[in-house]
Amino acid sequence: MSTTAVPIYLDNAATSFPKPEPVYLALDQFARTSLANPGRSGHRMAKEAERTIELARSALNRFFQGESANRWIFTLNCTDALNIAIKGSIQPGDHVITSDLEHNSVSRPLRRLEKDGVITLTRLESSEGYLDADQVRLALTPQTRLVALTHAVNVLGTVQPIEAIAAIVREAGALLLVDAAQSAGVVPINLKSTPIDLLAFPGHKALYGPTGTGVLYVGRRAKLRPWREGGTGGDSKSVLQPEELPFALEGGTPNALGIAGLAAGIEWVTRQGVEQNRLHEVALLQRVVDWVEAEGSGYGWNVAGRWDAASHVGALSLITPNLDDFHPQVISDILDTSFGIAVRSGLHCSPYIHQRIGSFPDGTVRLSPGPFNTEAHIDAFLEALQAISVGIL
């Protein structure tokens, strides 16, 4: 048994790796030719950097069928986008609906606002990794200003019925914030047909940009107060932050290099077709599910949440046979040190869902293949699990 020189990377739900070749090329080319301060100076390179960012906004708007390119805000990451959306829209006394499926980037800001007495909070309870749209309908009150929900759960990979939920929330007049961290790029999101007010996602997952890129779409009904104010590259004589988008929410020099890479990633995903990557990843996970059913369950392995290939992204959590011999962290350390396989174990920054499925506080072993993983990679993973199951005791 030996670790392979290049690890088998099954942690794409955290950050996708490797990136498609055009992304590397775009990053290299932009860094060499256009890495000036976008819009801040009038010279050719500054204009080129500015143009790259504007083209990226347009690409995002086409990709998700948004209302206009200027409604796409570039942020530091998805957490930043979610914080801008939550803290910029909430008023004292508001009621907010969320769920136990959320990442800490949604749960923590909301819990803080609740604890400080600013909002009241309803946390919907999922079942086997899924919410029902009717749960949202029942939780809505006249005071509900915001419904903040994930689209695809980072721990389980389960995809929520966001279209049905969006229709209900719009009818009630509340704002809908969707955390699309695990879905943007792999599950179709059409803003024209789905009334989502605020859509947040990172650039570095299924859109194949580099880390340090995040995006927030701000719909017409959402009026956000900026909390980061500063230079916007134009209208400098104004003593206050400009009110028009995207500049209202984009104080400070943006990550132009990262955005250039993200734009190349979006273009690559567009060419692949959104469903293509999801189908590839889910087909790989099906092998894992089949192994658990055929053999793994005999050792005590279980799939967390309900497996439904039609409403699943490429992330899957395994519940280990027991905690004494098969602690999730021990399993991921063995996979890394003895087999050269990278997965992520623990709580994945999402404590509530682990409490719900009974894997708190030790967590699960999550694997998340990407478009460049092969059946051979999954088979190596399964052989490793088999060997560990037999050899660990």
Partner: protein
Amino acid sequence: MAFADDGRDPLERYSRQMRFPPLGEDGQRKLATSRVTICGCGALGTVLANHLVRAGVGHVRIVDRDFIETHNLQRQILFDETDVAENLPKAEAAARKLRLINSQVQIEAVVTDIDHANILDLVSDADLILDGTDNFETRYLINDAAVKLGKPWIFGGVIGSEGQSMTIRPGITPCLRCVIESSPPPGMTPTCETAGVLGPAVSVIASFEAVEAIKLLAGKLDALNTELIMVDIWNWSFRRLKIAGLKGKVDCPTCVRGEFSWLEGEFGTHTTTLCGRNAVQVAVRRGEPLNFGELAGRLRALGEVKQNAFMLKFSTEGYEFTIFPDGRAIIKGTNDIARARSLYAQFVGN
């Protein structure tokens, strides 16, 4: 201070030491205005602190991350059973005792894990750094800081009945890395926990360090030791290795090339508190494959050892170690990163 107010000469208490001609009153006065930082307050550290406080070094800072346990009392001379019962940190318990011994000395207890982020703060105002640690990771870190700041330090290490010491003056003598370029990878060296240690061996080495400290602080530089001293008090061997010639002769990464890999956090262990109950992962940046067989052999006498192709499990004193082939370990039984690093140094060794 009561002692200073009674009209007697504050130097009077050091009369027997001052009457030793090579030190003299001038040497004693220099000691009184000196500052030292003692890194680690276990067996070596308590003997060092005891000597230096009694000798009248003006300011003694004692840094240690651990709490006193009963099995420390066999050799850690400043502690007693009350300290164990009160669950005191070593640095604090030592300071309390030392203040009773000599109220003229300013004694500062710092309960912390020495790492690349805090070492410069802990040593930059000291005239001398003293090694009371139990692991090479911290020693290389001290060496980096000392060379970078141009500050002298005294290395000392003991295991079983054997000990080593050398006095390092950056720019004048070779540094630790000139002499010992690298330590064996984690898990490959015996530690006091695995190989045992005799109290007198510690006293001998700490006393070598202490007398070197007194010479250095008193300005008696000609009397300093220029060799690597290696003692075995059981087999009665005393060896002196001439190392002065290594200065400038070896292409030392630290003092010749100016690479401070430990100080910059590039080398050394990296710790993370894990999801779940009470566990810390200690990862080793300079990971080399472990020899499970050897490590298991050393640990078997100290607790339960279980082994399979992927890992070695070792239980002792309420802690459970899961050790992986690249040297990383999950230590169950604590959430405290300093405690986990301490346990790793004691049982795996780094």
